[in-house]
């Protein structure tokens, strides 16, 4: 499979990327690690007229501590997040989830920002961003703006990043020494989750579901129940509130709802260890 023809330009900085986006209009796509975009282009489900390659913008690949936040550059690879001592210490859920994406080859190329802007409800990292209460930093011609993870994901493969804009960084509040778990139900090691549950406990708890809606899903009722100290049974009773699970060869709606309950229960058991 070979992608349709496109023009290729390389951006050398964020300012350069924004300039190129303005120049090439909405027929242009940003290319980061390429592990969501290139497969779609090979299937010709996506046929951008121009690819703006941001792979080599070094200023967007970093992990740093900033007061109560850990800030991760949008082009930081899954592999670097998975192995970061800073992330492992303050955001163990995020470090673990980064290591659950695809397989080692995919994690060597895929980037955090790329995974988030792709907005796939079946992907791992959007759920981690929702459960930990991350904030997205988006840059455009009018400067920078910040959007909560919850507002960022709009619909299937659709996020709040507008034409002409680029996601530059993700700010995660620290969750040092808090309980956490990620339960991912798959048939083969490198598959997308049939259902996944990302659970963050501690002072600012949150629980997010993978592949249970048309977009990455924050289980709001369940998250509120956890913050009020509800019993696990009461959290499980509302875990499927407002979900809209897909039905496919792997699972029916009912089976997915069942999995969400079972995996959430397991997540609590794992998090308390």
């Amino acid at each position: 499979m070979i992608p349709a023809q496109f023009d290729y330009v390389e951006a050398t900085s964020v300012a350069d990327a924004i300039r190129l986006l303005a120049e090439h209009g909405d027929e242009a796509k940003l290319l980061a690690g390429g592990h969501s975009l290139i497969p779609l282009m090979k299937l010709r489900l996506v046929t951008p007229a121009t690819l703006i390659d941001v792979t080599h913008i070094k200023e967007l690949s970093y992990i740093k501590e900033d007061g109560n936040n850990i800030v991760i550059g949008a082009l930081t690879r899954h592999r670097d997040i998975e192995q970061s001592e800073l992330v492992k210490k303050h955001l163990p859920l995020v470090a673990h989830v980064a290591g659950e994406v695809g397989d080692p080859q995919v994690r060597n190329r895929g980037t955090l920002g790329g995974s988030l802007v792709h907005g796939d409800p079946a992907a791992d990292l959007p759920a981690a961003a929702l459960a930990t209460g991350a904030t997205m930093v988006i840059a455009g011609q009018n400067g920078e703006r910040r959007v909560s993870a919850q507002e960022f994901f709009i619909d299937f493969l659709e996020t709040d990043v507008q034409p002409g804009e680029i996601l530059t960084a993700i700010e995660f509040p620290k969750h040092t020494d808090a309980g956490w778990a990620y339960e991912k139900f798959v048939r083969r090691a490198m598959d997308y989750a049939i259902v996944g549950v990302a659970l963050q406990l501690g002072a600012k708890p949150g629980v997010a579901l993978v592949n249970m809606s048309n977009k990455p899903h924050l289980a709001q009722s369940a998250s509120q129940a956890i913050s009020k100290g509800a019993a696990i049974a009461d959290v499980l009773a509302v875990i499927n509130d407002n979900t809209n699970p897909p039905e496919d060869l792997n699972a029916t709606v009912e089976y997915r709802e069942h999995l969400a309950r079972v995996l959430t229960q397991r997540a609590f058991a794992t998090a308390s260890k």
Partner: protein, 163 residues
């Protein structure tokens, strides 16, 4: 649109005028005639097309040649040692018969080479985890794991020259 590549492959600088949409695996196979890197699933699942990009394993069916400008690529053709001896991983696959049909083998060897360069003495579990992006439909993986263990136990293997 065409682009001019500058990619070092197995230690040799290469440069071609190719379409921007050229995938790295097609660049290797069709432009450089390095057909040891296989196209399996063509959807970044199976790992048959695994090569090393600056020492790290990547799936060359999901990387554009344009993206690896000025980078170092190692393919199975570059896996052997300078004197022509098999690398420890190649010899491990031979000794432990880590293949049947051989289609996945180049990718398996490159992914295993990347693993051992980071973790010279991996456990069975670590080997299986590191190879989860490489599918084999023949062996059931048991002998592949043994092959990687063999390589870990013989890091200084040399046959003393080309076979």
């Amino acid at each position: 649109m065409t682009i001019r590549t500058a990619i070092t492959v197995n230690g040799k600088e290469t440069s071609r005028e190719v379409e921007a949409r050229t995938l790295l695996v097609h660049y290797l196979r069709e432009e450089l005639s390095l057909t040891g890197t296989h196209v399996g699933c063509d959807t970044s699942n199976c790992g048959a097309c695994t090569v090393l990009l600056d020492g790290e394993a990547v799936k060359s069916c999901t990387v554009l040649a344009a993206q690896v400008h000025d980078c170092n690529i190692t393919t199975i053709e570059g896996a052997a040692q300078a004197d022509g001896s098999f690398s420890p991983v190649q010899e491990g696959f031979r000794q432990e018969h880590g293949l049947q049909c051989g289609y996945c083998t180049p990718g398996m060897i490159m992914a295993s080479t990347a693993l051992l360069s980071e973790n010279p003495n991996p456990s069975e579990e670590e080997i299986r985890h590191a190879l989860e992006g490489n599918l084999c439909r023949c062996t059931g993986y048991e002998m592949i794991v043994n092959a990687v263990r063999w390589a870990a136990e013989h890091p200084n293997f040399t046959s003393g020259g080309a076979k």
